[in-house]
């Protein structure tokens, strides 16, 4: 804790405390400029308020024999002055924020469109050629437009390094765009509260050089000859199953039951009935999640549409989770 304080102080020594994370998108600089503009105006007025409060409290502190000067009750000119000056300033602030916002909300025509699927509690990204991934890969210097949807509740897509944020609303598409100006991995966070796993609904943007991006894309789209188990494992991760279900041996409970070794075992359902977790049970639980809910868990799993081959893969993958 102390260490962090000294590092904050040290940062202050070396060119000022950084309020903002690193800048990795084309309009991050503009946002930071507006932030700093408002910051220094605020510092000025805050200093004015605090200095006047303290100076008056000392200078005009109550002393015997000294009366307050009660001849001053108002001064219209002065009051109009300190109403109009802030008004002018806030209009200027509004203008900077507005022009920056227009840039964020004006979508370029030549952008690569990536579809973003949000659900409790995972992100997945779908590229124009159909490739899907759990982290967002984008080439440096390429304008990217995200078309986002949610299959359950409100989420919000935030990349602090890009200064972009947009709620993802079930029942409609929402959009945002950016152009990355720096290679590297940048954090993606959900910023609209969405339940138990809200703070684990994280992902990343990988900004790669155009060549590296191409190579990654080529590898992703070529590797189609996966075994059913491998395919299932990939679907399991892409569709965000891991947000609620662990696959580790300790069978740790998250929001849903742990799935290690579940195949071939009896499970107790809500209401006390027992069923054997065979292939058909697994199939039903994926296709109609709330039909037979395991005892002690809330019936909140949403339906995740799968193609036949994906469904088969997931079942094979679950079967493979055993000693």
């Amino acid at each position: 804790m102390l260490h962090a304080l000294t590092s904050i102080v040290a940062q202050q020594g070396s060119g000022g405390y950084k309020w903002m994370p690193e800048r990795a998108s084309s309009y991050a600089a503009e946002v930071d400029w507006a932030f700093n503009f408002v910051f220094w105006i605020s510092v000025f007025f805050f200093a004015l308020i605090v200095i006047l409060t303290v100076v008056f409290a000392i200078k005009y502190r109550r002393r015997p024999g000294v009366e307050a000067d009660n001849s001053i009750t108002h001064n219209t000119k002065l009051e109009v002055f300190w109403s109009v000056v802030p008004l002018g300033l806030v209009i200027v602030i509004f203008w900077f924020g507005f022009s920056g916002f227009v840039d964020m909300r004006t979508f370029p025509k030549d952008a690569m469109v990536v579809k973003v699927h949000a659900k409790m509690w995972s992100w997945s990204f779908e590229y124009p050629n159909g490739v899907e991934s759990t982290t967002l890969h984008v080439p440096l210097g390429q304008k990217v437009k995200l078309r986002m949807d949610s299959s359950d509740v409100l989420h919000s897509f935030w990349v602090p390094a890009f200064r972009v944020k947009q709620d993802v609303v079930p029942g409609r598409y929402t959009y945002l765009w950016f152009e990355a100006i720096k290679t590297g991995t940048f954090r993606v966070l959900c910023t609209e509260y969405c339940g138990t796993g809200h703070s684990t609904m994280l992902s990343a943007v990988e900004v790669q050089s155009p060549e590296a991006f191409k190579a990654w894309m080529a590898e992703e789209s070529s590797g189609k000859n996966l075994s059913p188990v491998e395919r299932g494992k990939k679907v399991f991760s892409l569709k965000g199953c891991a947000g609620c279900h662990t696959v580790t041996k300790d069978r740790k409970k998250l929001v849903g039951p742990g799935l290690y070794g579940i195949f071939g075992h009896e499970v107790t359902l809500a209401g006390g009935k027992k069923v054997l977790a065979d292939e058909n049970y697994l199939r039903e639980s994926i296709l109609d999640p709330n039909a037979k809910v395991v005892n002690g868990f809330p019936p909140i799993m949403s339906l995740i549409p799968l193609k036949d081959k994906e469904l088969d893969g997931v079942i094979e993958y679950l079967k493979s989770l055993k000693d």
Partner: protein, 575 residues
């Protein structure tokens, strides 16, 4: 003041003596409190009730801060953490901050400031209190029966899908809404109809302008939250399809409904606090308020503009960019009347004779904290910076500076200011000063780190968080405990005063408004004889009286002498 023989101290009395000159002794027994129609006793019942709710909400806050000591699990599971911050927010907003100053201080002083015996509808006033109590009980039931994990904002469709007690909490909020509406209605009618005969609108103390503006918001905005939670309730029970997209509803519609009330309601919290600060600064500086008219109209302006800015909570919600732009522009309009008030308060201190007794310390603390709260609002009204800062700890820090740092400090400062009037006892200035220092230091230590981590990338309502933010969270947690220590010191100071405090003079601070021109504690009917109405800030009206250790009003004294002369005159004629 007329003197009525007091029972000698030390005399043993089997029955408590009924004393009409002291509302605390005008009747005895539990029924005399629970069924009272006296606005002063209702105020005290609110004080106790809201105090308990505040304690509960505060304990939840401390639990939240403890959990955030480490980036992963510290004391509770994620689901419990979500319930803790939800209950903290819901209790603090609906049970504490919304009623706070109007229900406690407003109830106590509003009729006295007007020179009235009571509010216009005393029974309705009592009903308001019981509605508050019913709503509060509803929340306690939620606490034990089903919990709530939606955040205090109840955003759909999460609130529709969750298994927790949303319907019950919605019912509680609905009932609390009525309490708020009825209080607003009562105050508004009282201010319109029950001012002393010669009290024009511009002879009203500024706290009344603040409470009047608050009443407007309570009456106009609160029905909308009632409708909103009502719709949520129906949606939850009958799956109608207002807000849930699965049923053809629109979640953004819920946000509009919710913020149409919940933005104006922050002015329900802050406007009365601003009124209290106006009263404290002028009295403690012994100086006429600077720019009465500007301060009065700025309250009204805030109330009106406050209705037109709700969309600034929704810049990234999916509402149209044009709407966001209009809301951003309108949002800045609210900052102007707030700025005017701050400058006018500073100008009031200029060439004053400033006492640094606890009420003034809290008022100056208010200027500092409201300065930060207000100025950080500029970052959030600005469109492109808000996109980055929305739903981060920057927001959390900002609204705690405005809602707690300002509104609640206004309440505590107001309690220190009016305490001698309410209970007729002075308190230890030393304890009051210590509590102020702890509250002030603790508050800033809690929330300044939250600004820093928010803009760096820390989202709100996160149970786990990236480890680089741990130091900020730990400072914040330490701060929250210092803050709690300060609040408990204030509580101790008040309780100590009840038992050990010196008897308070009628007017310890030299305020000129009518509420200080009655005994401390006041008569059962507030005034024996209603004092003459003067300019509420004409400091020449009062002078220090060494004998009573308080201030005495010249105009009131003159009126009483005249009356006495008149009475003896008629007696002479009669004889």
């Amino acid at each position: 003041m007329t003197s009525i023989p007091m029972p000698e101290e030390g005399t043993l009395t089997t029955k408590p003596v009924v004393d009409e000159t002291n509302y605390l002794k005008s009747a005895y027994g539990i029924k005399s409190w629970l069924l009272t129609q006296d606005h002063k006793r209702i105020a005290i019942m609110y004080m106790i009730g809201i105090g308990i709710a505040f304690l509960l909400g505060g304990l939840f806050a401390l639990a939240v801060r403890l959990e955030l000591w480490t980036p992963t699990k510290t004391i509770v599971e994620a689901a419990t953490y979500n319930k803790l911050f939800t209950l903290h927010g819901a209790i603090m907003t609906f049970l504490v901050l919304v009623p706070s100053i109007p229900a406690i201080l407003g109830n106590f002083v509003l009729p006295m400031m007007l020179g009235a015996k009571d509010v216009a509808f005393p029974k309705l006033n009592l009903l308001s209190f019981y509605l508050w109590l019913l709503g509060a009980i509803g929340f306690v039931v939620v606490l034990f029966a089903g919990d709530l994990d939606t955040g205090w904002t109840f955003y759909a469709p999460y609130s529709i899908r969750t298994q927790t007690a949303v319907a019950l909490a919605a019912t509680g909020a609905f009932i609390l809404g009525f309490s708020s509406i009825l209080t607003g209605l009562n105050f508004m009618v009282t201010i319109h109809k029950m001012r002393a005969k010669t009290m024009g609108w511009f002879r009203m103390p500024l706290l009344l302008w603040g409470l009047y503006a608050t009443s407007v918001i309570q009456i106009v905005a609160t029905p909308v939250i009632g409708i909103t939670v009502g719709m949520l309730f129906l949606e939850k029970l009958f799956h109608i399809g207002f807000f849930d997209p699965k049923l053809g509803g629109d979640p953004v519609l819920f946000e509009h409904f919710f913020w149409f009330y919940s933005h104006p309601v922050v002015y329900v919290m802050i406007l009365p606090a601003m009124g209290v600060i106006s009263e404290i600064i002028t009295a403690m500086s012994r100086k006429h308020i600077f720019g009465y008219t500007f301060i009065a109209f700025s309250s009204i302006a805030i109330a009106l503009f406050g209705f037109l800015v709700w969309g600034h909570h929704m810049f990234v919600s999916g509402q149209s960019s044009l709407m966001s732009t209009i809301f951003s522009l309108l949002t800045f309009s609210v900052s102007i009347p707030s700025a005017i008030k701050v400058f006018n308060w500073l100008a009031t201190m200029y060439k004053g004779s400033i006492s640094l007794a606890p009420p003034m310390l809290f008022a100056m603390g208010f200027l500092f904290l409201f300065g930060i709260g207000g100025l950080t609002g500029l970052f959030l009204g600005t469109l492109n910076t808000d996109v980055h800062l929305h739903d981060t700890y920057f927001i959390v820090a900002h609204f705690h500076y405005t809602m707690m740092g300002s509104a609640l400090i206004g309440l505590i400062g107001g309690l220190f200011f009016y305490w001698p009037k309410i209970f007729g006892r002075m308190y230890s200035h030393l304890l009051g000063t210590i509590s102020f220092i702890l509250i002030f230091v603790g508050f800033n230590l809690t929330f300044i780190p939250q600004f820093l981590m928010g803009s760096m990338g820390m989202p709100r309502r996160y149970y786990n968080y990236p480890p680089e933010f741990q130091a900020y969270h730990q400072w914040s947690t330490v701060g929250s405990f210092v803050l709690a220590a300060g609040l408990f010191t204030a509580l101790w100071c008040f309780i100590h005063s009840l038992f050990r405090g010196e008897k308070a003079p009628d007017n310890p601070w030299g305020a000129v408004t009518l509420d200080w021109k009655t005994s401390s504690p006041p008569h059962h009917h507030n005034f024996d004889i209603v004092p003459p109405v003067t300019d509420p800030y004409d400091m020449d009206d009062v002078y220090w009286d060494e004998e009573s250790k308080g201030y005495i009003s010249r105009s009131q004294q003159a009126a009483l002498q005249e009356l006495a002369a008149g009475v003896s005159g008629t007696q002479e004629k009669n004889s």
